[in-house]
């Protein structure tokens, strides 16, 4: 659910400035220099780093087993409330499971969903987009039609219905989202490919008899990679949000897995007396998505050719 405005698209190509400086700088050095100066990118990267580190180290830092129930210690409030205890920093849920431990393991689920969904949808969308942009004509007409049809389908509804059909599991959600969320990849790679399909180096590759797959994957793909990485980050955030919504509606990841959306759904009935039950996973979700979006927006600014000085 986002605007497919042309301004959101990174302009690919044009890597070499016309008046190139006499000293050759590595592109990576320039990238890092621009990245360091971009406040939003740095902030997002820092938050994302903390979340990824916490998710990877979850078994080491989690104070409790995220699945261990303790009915004697149900709904203990977090530490900043009067009755909070240091044993359960973020409190416990309705079954007495430690909220902090569940939150840590939930980060793994969100990140896994984000990465794998983007791996599937990115592959589908990029293939469709590159072919549409490179071949043009009838191929473009057919593929654009496919993209238009996909855009007409209500995503949340179709995802819910399909997730329910495949039985609502982690793998099921990843496959459903991966097969649905390729539209923006296709739209962006299509227009990015169109812009460089007539470039001299592509014509040169055609002239020396390179095979079409070779041109697509070693001439075109590296040159639209910037745009692709930006879309991948933003779509990762989209997939994480959708998974949370599916799980919240009870048709995504199933209990007892500690998905953040599921934690919010399970806490919904207690939210009137203990709002933190939904507040804690909601804040975690907002931080993760915000961090990913900041990184995506930052990468778009930093890699845009017009911002290279």
């Amino acid at each position: 659910m986002s605007a497919l405005t042309p301004t959101n698209v990174v302009q690919p190509g044009g890597d070499a400035p016309f008046d190139a400086p006499p000293v050759r700088r590595s592109p990576l050095v320039g990238f890092l220099r621009r990245a360091r100066r971009h406040g939003g990118l740095m902030l997002g990267a820092a938050v994302l780093f903390v979340i990824v580190a916490a998710a990877l180290a979850a078994p080491l830092i989690a104070p409790h087993d995220p699945y261990a129930q303790n009915l004697a210690q149900r709904l203990i409030p977090p530490i900043w409330q009067p009755k909070g205890t240091w044993d359960h920093v973020l409190g416990t849920d309705k079954l007495g499971r430690d909220y902090f431990s569940r939150l840590l393991f939930g980060a793994r689920i969100s990140l896994l969903i984000g990465l794998l969904t983007v791996a599937i949808s990115g592959t589908i969308g990029t293939l469709l987009g590159i072919c549409a942009g490179y071949f043009g004509g009838k191929v473009d007409a057919v593929l654009s039609y496919v993209i238009t049809t996909r855009l007409a389908l209500p995503v949340v509804l179709v995802a819910l219905a399909s997730a329910a059909l495949v039985g609502g599991s982690l793998q099921g959600v990843i496959i459903v989202l991966g097969l649905l969320l390729w539209d923006r990849f296709a739209v962006v790679t299509r227009s990015a490919t169109q812009q460089i399909a007539r470039a001299d180096y592509v014509a040169a590759a055609q002239a020396i008899g390179c095979s079409t797959p070779r041109i697509l994957f070693s001439e075109i793909l590296p040159n639209i990679l910037n745009a692709l990485i930006v879309v991948a980050t933003l779509e990762m955030a989209h997939a994480i949000l959708l998974e949370a919504a599916l799980s919240f509606l009870g048709l995504g990841v199933q209990p007892p897995l500690p998905s953040w959306g599921l934690m919010i759904a399970e806490g919904k009935q207690y939210m009137f007396f203990s709002p933190w039950v939904i507040g804690v996973p909601a804040v975690a979700l907002v931080f993760l998505v915000l961090a990913i979006n900041l990184v995506g927006d930052g990468l778009r600014d930093v890699t845009a050719p017009e911002n290279r000085t």
Binding site: P154, A161, L165, L249, F272
Partner: protein
Amino acid sequence: MLAYTVQRLIVALSVAFTVSVVAFFLLHLSGDIAISIAGPEASPAQVEVVRHQFGLDRPLVVQYLDWLWKAVHFDFGNSFYFRDTVVSLIASRIGVTLTLGAISLCLSLLVAVPLGVLAAVYNGTLIDRLALSFSVIGQAIPTFCLGLGLIILFSVTLRWLPVSGASTWKHYILPSIALGWYAVPAVMRLSRNGMLEVLSADYIRTARAKGVAPIVVIFKHALRNAIIPVVALAAVQFGFMLGGSIVIEAVFSMHGLGYLAWEAIARNDFPVVQAVVLILATIYVGLTFLADVANAFLDPRIRLA
């Protein structure tokens, strides 16, 4: 103009047709519906009876054409779960969703367009930065979290507004904010970028040089041109809102189309799910068609291209 309209209409109709194929086969290819209807305890013979009764023993293509033929005549068959026809179910629920979507769209446009104009006029200043930060943060808040947060704040703590339902206008306030929220960043960015582009145009400089009041330049000369792409986006966003209202309707227990679809999905009620998917997709296709035509009408460069 006519040729352009006809061309867009043909595309829209064929997309709607393709969507109907997807909606039908998506739900039919993924499992044996007869077993789902008959229930897990049914014997094979009972399943066969059900299969015949619902016409599921016919070839898929025949079933599809039969379904489409009836769908075009607004007959989507009977619901498996609710003892009612799908059409009357949808007719009783669609009003809530359309009302919710329309209010949400108006709210988000009322917030996003002025904010975008403000950000463009004060480009590069603190106002611009605040507006952009707001759009980044806004996009990170999941609609259902926002909805629950609004309930906790305005219904539980302050007790100003009702928690759930859809009986009075007060019930629509919180859901519309939660649903409209998601469209704000996109509309804001588009109107900001459109305004930035237009404000640097020569005719704006001319108007300013003539001594036209700044407020007239912004609203009469600039906004009219900057708003064209926003019209198309608003139509698309309305379509997204109808599809996305399922989450908000679930949070606020509003018995609209989304809530109906949610109930139907959880109960394997295929006729209802198919009909809702098809209707929402058709509305979306219709909206984008209208947006295309409206855009071409407003901007001759599109229809003559």
